[in-house]
């Protein structure tokens, strides 16, 4: 117990670089959301908003419709979690371009993201089906229990390692390239940054969000899909 306390104090006094970057990204997303939310709330219904507010309103409307098409009635519960996860993972993957220490290069952050995804899937199942959600691992018949348990828990490992492997592998290649070229890397590395950091970062964000939503849509009961069929 004493060792835990001392390690905790050590992290608070000299934090590692990726921890500071992660906190800065969280603070940025939170303040941006609060400020833009206040502006939209106080706007008159007939006023014409400027470009940034229009982009935000259209973006969130499109995201809501996208999730409603998969999940049905529970979209108001699922969307805040998934939108926050999207913004955090996307900004973390991109921060390699700004010469920051990307948080998703470390397995602590990616395992937290995949545990968040596991929580979203299971809690939406419990809200939609009640206590019958836990009987779902015995479908279609009783001896399928080990296989169903494995297929519930293994996506935690696979989602975390997929994100970690892509971003850390890209960062390793960029480190080797910078070490090889020295000052000449100013001319050569921009296309590599565009491919590895921005390209793979965007693709992995889409993959992790789509997998979460598809796993959620497999766990909800039939009557919650009524809202799509209208």
């Amino acid at each position: 117990m004493k060792l835990l306390y001392e390690n905790f104090l050590e992290v608070i006094k000299n934090p590692p670089a990726y921890f500071v970057t992660s906190l800065a990204i969280m603070v940025f997303i939170a303040t941006f959301s609060i400020i833009v939310g206040r502006i939209i709330e106080k706007m008159d219904v007939r006023a014409k908003p400027n470009k940034l507010i229009t982009v935000v309103i259209e973006g969130i409307g499109g995201f809501n419709k996208f999730i409603q098409g998969y999940v049905g009635k529970q979209w108001q519960y699922v969307t805040p979690f998934v939108l926050t996860m999207t913004l955090y993972v996307f900004l973390s993957n991109i921060s390699g371009v700004a010469a920051l220490d990307a948080p998703t290069k470390y397995t602590a952050i990616t395992f937290s993201m995949s545990l968040m995804s596991f929580y979203i899937v299971q809690s939406t199942g419990v809200i939609s089906k009640g206590a019958k959600h836990f009987l779902g691992i015995f479908q279609p018949y009783f001896p399928m229990l080990p296989l169903n348990l494995v297929s519930e828990f293994v996506p935690i490992l696979s989602m975390a390692l997929r994100l970690f492997g892509n971003i850390a592998g890209g960062a390793l290649i960029m480190t080797l390239l910078y070490g090889l070229l020295g000052w000449g890397s100013i001319l050569v590395t921009p296309p590599f940054h565009a491919l590895f950091d921005i390209g793979f970062g965007l693709i992995q964000t889409i993959v992790i969000v789509l997998l979460t939503i598809i796993f959620t849509s497999m766990k909800i009961s039939e009557e919650d899909f009524e809202i799509i069929k209208k």
Binding site: L161, N166, A168, V207, L211
Partner: protein, 93 residues
Amino acid sequence: MLDFINSVLPNVLDVIPNEFFRSGLAYIGAGIAVLTGLGTGIGQGIAAGKAVEAVGRQPEASGKITVTMIVGQAVAETTGIYGFIIAILLLGR
């Protein structure tokens, strides 16, 4: 278990099991681990070929086909990344 292997090994092969021997075997293991890229490359190449064929058959749907192919390949790439992670872990030994 390691003591047993260390005692049997000088009688079977002509080596001394110190830390250089272990480090060399770890490097060989890292090289073998990256061979998982073989199956991944073949699978993703076949998927890309089918996507190009589909675009050739109906060029108006090329946006949707591209997005679906990218997502499918990002999921199929996972097993190749597993081999890469094992190789990086072994290089540190």
